[in-house]
């Protein structure tokens, strides 16, 4: 056995200790791991806590209905507010409403929301996909409402509000603590205007909002769930295909509406028919192409009411629409009962001052005396249940159609009337082989009709297919007859079928209009409703009765395919003469249109707020869009005739350091390129101005001079040295790359070369006035070029990504492929000696179109296949510009006109 020395022992012990320590160290977890583990547990705890919070928030809920007192007039329910409201933002009708002066202040926020990327954000959509119940109370005013938003699991945020309420700092939003309103001691108040404050309080899973403090208290302090009847609850929970459904207390709403519309005697007489305190379901859907609305109103006619019979009998399917000619543009059809039933129902509704009963009895006695028959027999013995008023395009007088139940009896009655000495009849008129008799109605009949605002002193008429048609003039009758005889019926028309109610059922009253051909007189106004209805060109409303229930359907569709209309607020009258171009630009301050008047006055119009600013420059100038990526906050370049260059922002403020004074005066208009602005100068040089004000000059060995704005493509700038011995220079990155070997041109030409990039090569195309077309690839003439085009050319070529375009003086548009293939389109009856030609990408989607303005005030647009674009030609002069200004993802077209106007065309 080996004996260890003390030193060796110490060493051994030390080693053992070291080993032990290392072992211990190895067993203990490192700090980093500990930290990560700690974070993990913390996060897990927070997530679990949040999850628990969300679950609690979702489960611990209050019924929205319990907070809506049931004495409302209207209850609006949205299962998903996002799905219901988000599509409404894109409606064209919204543009019309927001163009009204009273809503103009809301327009910027609306437009910015319409175009906002947040609308595409799934989290925003999730947050906004909440159930909303709102109710309108019309007892005192039409602005009293309660809205209950079911925040569901998101209510966690409102539940924790007491923790962070002091951090909330929103203008006009106040946190109120009061003892004046028991049960609602703490709430928020948002001051909208002097007339309106909205009170807000989160309660459990909901957020309650109201414009009336008393209603607000009632919503919060009283549980209203037991106040709803079973039927009402069922109606509220009914699922409809439309995202918004509205439940109305029809009797309450109607009485309020009728009180507010003052004296409508007849309508007020109808009020007692509506069952009191029952609810009706109104489902409503609106898109740009269609409006749909359906409503069911329970009726409870008093037993002694004259209308009881009409209301209780179910509506029948009318047969007149199937017989109506397609010349009919609008109609009103009554199919509620026989003439006698209608008389019995309608007479008590007429105001007493009309003395209808006395008129009737006088008429009856006269009738007996003159025709030896009673008025009842005269009118009721032959007529059926359908009565209609028909309106036709281009005709002032309407046609009245009455169903004939008994033709023999009608003939007998008519013969009796005609044979009398007091009724004059003329049967001499024959139209298209059809005799149209004319009947002078006796005065007592005229007086009776007058009570219903029908003026028919004499009537032409004809009887056909079970109906008698009457009109003051024979014109509509002959048109009706001839088109029906030719088999052209309204029921065969697609537009009529489009507005047919979903379910074919009876109707007691039906209204139809079609604005596609012309506008009916009742829509010839310029108010908001007419403008909106004008969007939906064809519409139909049906009212059906039966089982003490009134059902109402409205269907209207838009038929404006390829329609062109001016944007609201345009055309804008200009005080000065505009330069023939506009610049449309989406800036960080909104969408702007820039244009120049009298060559010196630069104007900017924010198309959302309609705010206009002006800047007068000291000399005549030319403006162009700043396409440089280095500073896009300043969007407009202006170069003056004296050689000063300005860089200007959308507020028309000049950038510090500008204007830059150039070494010489410009010899032509400038062009913006990727690096800044290229200005051809009279001293045979090209000035390149950058957005930071730095200016370089490129000296060029010119024989003649630069007479046109340079052609540009990215960093490449092409210049035409205009001369009989002309040449083309290419400047790239501030250097003329072909100074020693310019591309030579024989013959004189206008404009500048067009550039195109293809497979890494730079193509340069140019055409002389006499039509010699040259194409160089990287400075070398392509095989097959120069090529002679037939015509005289006062404008040089322009290029898209695939083609070059040329315009001859006789207004023929040439599309030339880089291989030399040519396609030609003739613009009719036009010349092009002072034309404008450009290629633009209106929707910034890599699809370019070519726009041509021949000599005059009309702009033509063609696609790459040389097909005329929809909505073109349109009124305008020079080059158009495009920008989506209303957020519909389709660009609008802006032009100026020679009669000093700025136009904006909605091309959808």
């Amino acid at each position: 056995m080996q004996t260890l020395t003390p030193t060796a022992k110490w060493r051994t012990n030390f080693m053992e200790e070291q080993h032990h320590t290392e072992q211990t160290k190895k067993k203990k977890k490192p700090f980093f791991i500990k930290l990560l583990t700690g974070i993990f547990w913390l996060v897990l705890f927070v997530v679990l806590l949040l999850l628990a919070g969300f679950i609690f928030s979702a489960l611990h809920k209050k019924n929205s209905l319990s907070m809506l007192p049931p004495d409302y007039s209207l209850h609006l329910h949205m299962d998903n507010a996002w799905k219901a409201v988000n599509p409404l933002v894109d409606l064209e009708a919204a543009d019309i409403i927001l163009s009204q002066p009273q809503f103009l202040s809301l327009r910027p926020a609306f437009m910015s929301w319409r175009t906002s990327a947040l609308r595409q954000n799934k989290l925003v959509a999730l947050a906004a996909s909440r159930k909303i119940d709102a109710a309108l109370y019309t007892e005192n005013s039409f602005t009293d409402f309660i809205a209950v938003v079911d925040l569901s699991f998101l209510s966690l945020a409102t539940r924790l509000l007491p923790l962070y309420k002091s951090l909330i700092n929103v203008e006009n939003l106040y946190y109120i603590e009061t003892t004046l309103h028991p049960g609602v001691e703490k709430f928020f108040a948002f001051h909208v205007s002097n007339d309106m404050t909205i009170y807000i309080k989160p309660i459990q899973n909901t957020l309650v909002l109201s414009s009336n403090l008393e209603l607000f208290e009632r919503a919060i302090t009283i549980d209203n769930s037991s106040s709803y009847s079973k039927d009402a609850l069922m109606l509220i929970k009914t699922k409809t295909e439309n995202p918004i459904h509205v439940i109305a207390n029809a009797s309450k709403l109607s009485s309020t509406l009728l009180t507010s519309t003052e004296d409508n005697y007849m309508l007020s007489q109808l009020l007692p028919l509506i069952k009191e305190n029952t609810f009706s379901l109104i489902s409503f859907g609106i898109t740009d192409s269609r409006i749909k609305a359906e409503a069911n109103i329970p009726l409870d006619p008093p037993e002694n009411s004259s209308l009881s019979r009409l209301v209780t009998a179910p509506s029948k399917l009318p047969s007149l629409p199937a017989r109506l000619s397609d010349r009919v543009q609008y109609y009103t059809l009554i199919n509620a009962g026989s003439l006698e039933e209608l008389k019995n129902a309608a007479f008590p509704l007429l105001p007493p001052e009309k003395k209808i009963d006395s008129l009737w009895s006088t008429g009856n006695s006269l009738c007996k005396a003159l025709f030896n028959t009673s008025l009842e027999d005269l009118l009721f013995s032959w007529s059926g249940n359908e009565f209609a008023v028909l309106g036709m395009e281009g005709v002032d007088n309407p046609v009245f159609a009455i169903q004939v139940r008994d033709e023999k009896q009608r003939q007998k009655i008519f013969d009796r009337v005609i044979s009398s000495i007091i009724v004059k009849s003329d049967t001499s008129l024959i139209v298209d082989g059809m005799r149209l008799p004319q009947l002078m109605l006796p005065s007592f009949l005229q007086a009776l009709l007058g009570a219903f605002n029908i003026n028919l002193p004499s009537a032409y008429y004809y009887v056909h297919d079970g109906y008698i048609y009457l009109s003051l003039s024979p014109e509509p009758l002959s048109a009706l007859y001839s088109s029906s005889a030719a088999g052209s019926f309204i029921a065969m028309k697609e537009e009529w079928k489009d507005v047919q109610p979903r379910l074919t059922r009876g109707t007691s009253l039906s209204l139809f209009y079609n604005l596609a051909q012309s506008t009916p007189f009742f829509l010839r106004n310029d108010n908001v409703l007419t403008q909106i209805l004008d969007l939906y060109t064809i519409g139909r409303t049906d009212l059906a009765l039966g089982n003490s229930n009134l059902s109402l359907t409205l269907n209207a569709v838009s038929r404006h395919s390829g329609d062109l209309r001016s944007l609201n607020g345009f055309p804008l009258e200009l005080l000065g003469k505009p330069s023939p171009y506009t610049i449309a630009k989406q800036t960080k301050d909104g969408p702007f249109i820039f244009w120049l008047e009298d060559q010196t006055k630069l104007s900017a119009l924010n198309t959302v707020t309609k705010e206009k600013t002006e800047l007068t420059l000291p000399d005549p100038c030319f403006i162009t869009e700043n396409t440089s990526t280095s500073d896009d906050s300043y969007c407009i370049w202006a170069s003056t005739r004296r050689g000063e260059v300005y860089l200007i922002n959308s507020s028309l403020q000049i950038k510090a350091g500008f204007p830059i004074t150039l070494s010489s005066t410009p010899s032509a208009d400038a062009s913006a390129f990727a690096g800044g602005l290229a200005v051809p100068l009279t001293n045979s040089s090209l000035a390149l101005v950058e957005t930071n004000g730095k200016t370089r000059y490129v000296e060029l060995p010119l024989f003649g001079s630069l007479k046109a704005a340079p052609g540009v493509l990215g960093e490449n700038i092409a210049l035409y040295d205009k001369s009989i011995m002309g040449s083309i220079f290419i400047v790239k990155n501030g250097v003329c790359i072909n100074e020693d070997a310019p591309m030579e041109v024989s013959g004189i030409a206008f404009g500048s070369p067009a550039l195109m990039e293809q497979k890494g090569s730079l193509l340069t195309a140019f055409i002389t006035q006499s039509g010699e077309l040259s194409l160089w690839r990287d400075g070398r003439m392509e095989t097959g070029f120069p090529k002679q085009l037939e015509g005289i050319f006062f404008h040089n070529l322009v290029a898209s990504d695939s083609y070059f375009y040329a315009l001859s003086s006789d207004a023929r548009l040439f599309r030339i492929s880089p291989k030399g293939e040519v396609l030609i389109v003739q613009i009719p009856n036009a010349s092009a000696e002072n034309p404008f030609l450009c290629v633009l990408e209106p929707n910034k989607n890599k699809i370019s179109h070519v726009y041509v303005c021949p000599d005059g005030n009309a702009i033509y647009g063609f696609n790459e296949k040389m097909e005329l674009l929809t909505a073109f030609p349109l009124a305008g002069w020079g080059t158009p510009s495009f920008m989506d200004t209303n957020g519909d993802k389709r660009a609008e077209c802006f032009t100026v006109s020679m009669n000093n106007t700025l136009n904006a065309w909605n091309l959808r």
């Binding site: 003039s473 009856n829 000599d855 030609p873």
Partner: protein
Amino acid sequence: MKKIIFYKSLTALCFSFLFMNFFSCATLKDDVQVSTEDSLEEDAMTLLEKRVCELDAQTFMGMPSDSSGANLTRLLEDAKAASSSVQKAQYAKLQALQGRIYLMEGKRKKAKECYTDSVNTYKGEVQGVILANRLSLVHSLDEEAAKLSTSRDKALLTLEKALQAYGENQYAASLSLFDTAFISLPAFYKNAYKDIRAKAWEYRNITGSEKAGTDLLKKTTVTVGELLVIACQENEKLQSLLGGSAASQNTLYRKACALGFLSSVTEESALPLENDFCSKVLAARFFWNVHAYLTGMENTAPYTEKLSKRKASPFQDLPFGNADFDAVMGCVENEYLNLKDGIHFEPESSVSALLLSEAAKKLR
């Protein structure tokens, strides 16, 4: 004899009485046969409308009436034949068109009667509004246009506004309205009014209200003296060079001669007289000399030197060695005057006053 006559009369009376017993008095009236197919053919109406607007355009341009006399008669006959129609709107339109024809003939009273008849028959017919406008019965065409429903009708009133603007010498506005209207109207309207529209295009840059200046600018040929007047009107620098705004044509001419503006560049040639016809080459000579003067150019014949190696002149109608070759070259390159087709200058052709005025504006 008298007895026979009496019995015959009595018999006839008896028969008449019997006949009247069988038929009511109404049926004794002759039937009025109307066919919508004969008179209301859309093509016929279009043809009539076309002829009226052709005539309207001729009358507007003050074309001789002898050529339109026969047309007028035919149109009136057409209108009358078609007016037996029962279509009220069409009748109103025909009456309005007839009124317009009367107005063209100077028969204002008859035109007014037609208008009254048209409006009483059918309100809202656009031809009625046009007639009313011609009769100075319309307060504002814009207000009337707002009442119309179809885009075609509105376009017709835009056309009416174009004619009105032309009559008021607002040529740019007139042109703009013409083209706007033509977008929505049938092609025959564009054909009928193309000459007026072409004039509006030609005169689009005339903005002055002074009749004398406007009349001068409308000239298609000018004298040398007029060239100087026009150039001075449009260019202040030139005006001060040649004696100010109040200077007479003769003063301008004398000063221009003194400054050598009317002398040929390369060789001595006779100066044109003040009242000589100003050909295109003379105009080129003047503009080139002024250009050289204003830019301080020492050598006014640079092209003769530069192009001396070329075998042929770039212009087919102006050879090398022509006294004005450099002037023409200079004017073409500087875009004062253009070649006709890229090859021909047409030196002896006339130049319109408007082209000269545009060229003078470019002199700096």
